[in-house]
Symmetry: C2
């Protein structure tokens, strides 16, 4: 007896930079793991508790969002057409001064709702009031790696507080929730703060999720101020002694890349191309990063810069952006784009052995995608269609941890009407910018 | 009595680089034109032959695709991850050697189906067997500017033939079809051919739709070979004596831009950013082009490079691409992106007075867009949502020339099943590349 039988899917396999489709497959799920993948007809549907017909749909691993601030979905559209400094100082850090804990609960649910609709089953989220975010994830049935954000000026006591959150929630929701420490960035946390964060992470067996070298000008400012790059600072402060997710490292120097390539603890870079283009931040050279063996995953960042929480967009913009950056259309090929979106994102997320691949023994995070729309026809090349044609609205069914959480675009865990009804009345307060104060100043 | 009353829409007005939403408006359509736009309730619904409820939807001008090869949708996904030379010589020009006239009829319908679903009501199409394309447009109920493609090696007689097509079909389908002459490019048509094309266009009162300076390396090759840029060649051959649509002019030099800015006949540039990024061709600086007064419209190019026929994508990639190119997030603002997608595209298309704006007296090409999806919520900024969040699947209803051609995503003119049934059996023949011959060699 299996818990879930997904019948007659076309299963996407991405391996060694090749993307293959295995047509007419049944996926058998026991508990939260894939038990078998067999040609359709091999197994008896009456031996499954739940049978889901996926005929004509592509089954692929749920997307993993390696860097986000999910509750910022509340403010989408409110920081437009401005450069990074103004974006922080005139918009974001005023808006965030309005934030109350319950806002995170509803904002997180709102973002999870959008991500589920786009086939995202896991998110590495860096934000405030993360107890509330964790409760939203519990309810949504998705997977998350949660880190409570810290600015150095809030004092060292935050480290113990956020570590307590991390310890309380790590492994919660049947293992769907993992935790991480979240010092904000080397320009908002001084060296003592970074050192204490790294030591605490090592002590509790956690990792670090941090912004660093977000732009080349941040790197230049750091070099001028103290003669070291942001990556060098993190390295010296011991951050890289623990598994680290770096957002965004666009300003990493060749020397920085050598540091990152030589680390023994895993470090991954979250690549959020829509935000980078929108804020005119540049792009990293992913071909170079990958040649150095540095893991690169896809991210959405927050919706005030990215506007949507959609990794189809991120995958497409990654491929298009690298071709354009490198002046070479052969680079960041379709199989490479799919590799970044699946296995490599799982690596950055810290679960390379369990996620990012549909195979026996892996966790059952599976999305079913309908490529029958006009924009895919004729379906000459499924892999190309996934990278260049697919839209979030093509995702039909989402399974996370073995459980169907969206079926044929109907949510089974979150209540969209309830979320909207709870978000709407908050918005008048949340949109205030004048007299709202500011949580921080951007002065890298 | 009016023919169509669109009730209670939120009407998008884009003017002087401002985007405004006028909520709760009725749009009255008489024949194929907008008769009035009034606050809802001003007019009696019983005085309309057809009433369409648009409550909660945004009404905006139908998108105008200023450069495409629509029937290439047949081959989408078949020229992936290769640079321009290989794309032409190893893929496209072999594939196109398989083309038969009826393929264009069905391929055009297929592409029109996709474009209608994405809210595109007009297309400037450059392809072969255009009688067949014209019949598809007649049936679809959309608007098109059709030019039969010509390679110089086919001989000067083509010019009379395609001019005969142009004269036969100009103004057809109640004015929805206009025509244009289509010499392919200065690297595939010699000077005599270009001169004869220009003279013929002038004689019959037509314009020219041509590829030129597609990349900087084309410009360099032309300079080396003959000491003139492609734009200089076109200018000398008299092409710019008639209204011209240039695809893509990425390799235009500062001197070329001066030529274009000083022309008396209108010249417009079609900007197709997804194709440019995918083929690593670079981007033009649209801020500079616009400062010179040169019209720039959005295009999809063909689906073998662009994969989709979707101007939401093109609008978004235009804004993101320019910010990134110029290193300035204030550039290509949301109102500017909407201006390019509406008024400026109408200008490039040659109908600035009739299209690209919802106003009394204009042609009634109107799309109704549903922004109620999770990816738009909360709707803090409608204009931002249109540029950065909207997807083709948000388009609900499409009106062209006063006629509803898609209602709540149901096609009223084209038959999707019939199109698929006619396309599918052609694909085995159409996909052949070996032994299929080649229609041309790319050697600019």
């Amino acid at each position: 007896m299996v818990d879930l039988l997904i019948r007659n899917a076309d299963v996407l396999q991405v391996e060694a930079e090749r993307a293959e489709l295995r047509s007419g497959r049944d996926i058998l799920v026991s508990g939260n793991r894939i038990k078998a993948i067999e040609p359709t007809g091999s197994s008896d549907p009456s031996h499954a508790k739940v049978v889901h017909d996926a005929a004509g749909q592509v089954a692929m691993p749920g997307f993993i969002n390696t860097h986000a601030h999910v509750p910022m979905a509340l403010w989408r559209g409110l920081g437009e057409d401005v450069n990074l400094e103004s974006w922080f100082n005139d918009y974001i850090w005023h808006l965030e001064a309005n934030l109350e804990p319950e806002d995170v609960y509803w904002g997180m649910q709102l973002g999870l709702l959008e991500m589920i609709e786009a086939g995202i089953t896991a998110v590495n989220d860096h934000y405030w009031h993360m107890e509330y975010a964790a409760r939203a994830v519990e309810k949504a049935g998705t997977r998350a790696l949660l880190g409570q954000a810290m600015f150095g000026e809030g004092g060292l006591s935050q480290i113990d507080e956020t570590a307590a959150f991390a310890q309380r929630w790590d492994g919660a929701a049947g293992g769907r929730i993992r935790t991480i420490l979240g010092p904000h960035a080397p320009y908002t946390c001084d060296d003592d703060f970074l050192r204490a964060s790294a030591a605490k992470a090592e002590q509790i067996g956690s990792g670090i999720h941090i912004h660093a070298a977000e732009t080349l000008s941040q790197t230049q400012a750091s070099l001028q101020r103290r003669g070291q790059t942001p990556i060098e600072v993190l390295n010296e402060c011991g951050i890289f002694n623990v598994p680290t997710v770096l957002a965004h490292a666009l300003g990493a120097t060749p020397g920085d890349l050598e540091i990152l390539a030589d680390l023994s603890a895993p470090v991954g870079i979250a690549h959020c191309p829509k935000t980078y283009a929108k804020l005119a931040m540049g792009f990293n050279n992913l071909v170079e990063l990958r040649a150095l063996g540095i893991a690169v995953g896809l991210g959405t960042d927050g919706a005030v810069s990215n506007n949507t929480l959609d990794l189809w967009e991120a995958m497409r913009l990654t491929a298009l952006g690298q071709k354009q950056l490198l002046g070479d259309a052969e680079q960041l090929s379709i199989p490479q784009a799919l590799t970044l979106a699946t296995r490599e994102s799982a690596r950055v997320y810290g679960q390379a052995d369990e996620l990012g691949d549909l195979a026996v023994g892996k966790l059952a995070d599976i999305i079913l995608v309908d490529l029958s729309g006009t924009h895919h026809f004729p379906l000459n090349n499924v892999a190309a269609s996934l990278v260049y044609n697919a839209r979030a609205s093509d995702v039909q069914t989402v399974i996370c941890d073995g459980r169907v959480i969206m079926r044929e675009r109907k949510h089974l865990t979150l209540d969209a009407d309830e979320i909207r009804a709870n978000v709407a009345p908050r918005m008048q307060r949340l949109r205030r910018r004048e007299k709202a104060g500011s949580i921080q100043t951007y002065r890298p």
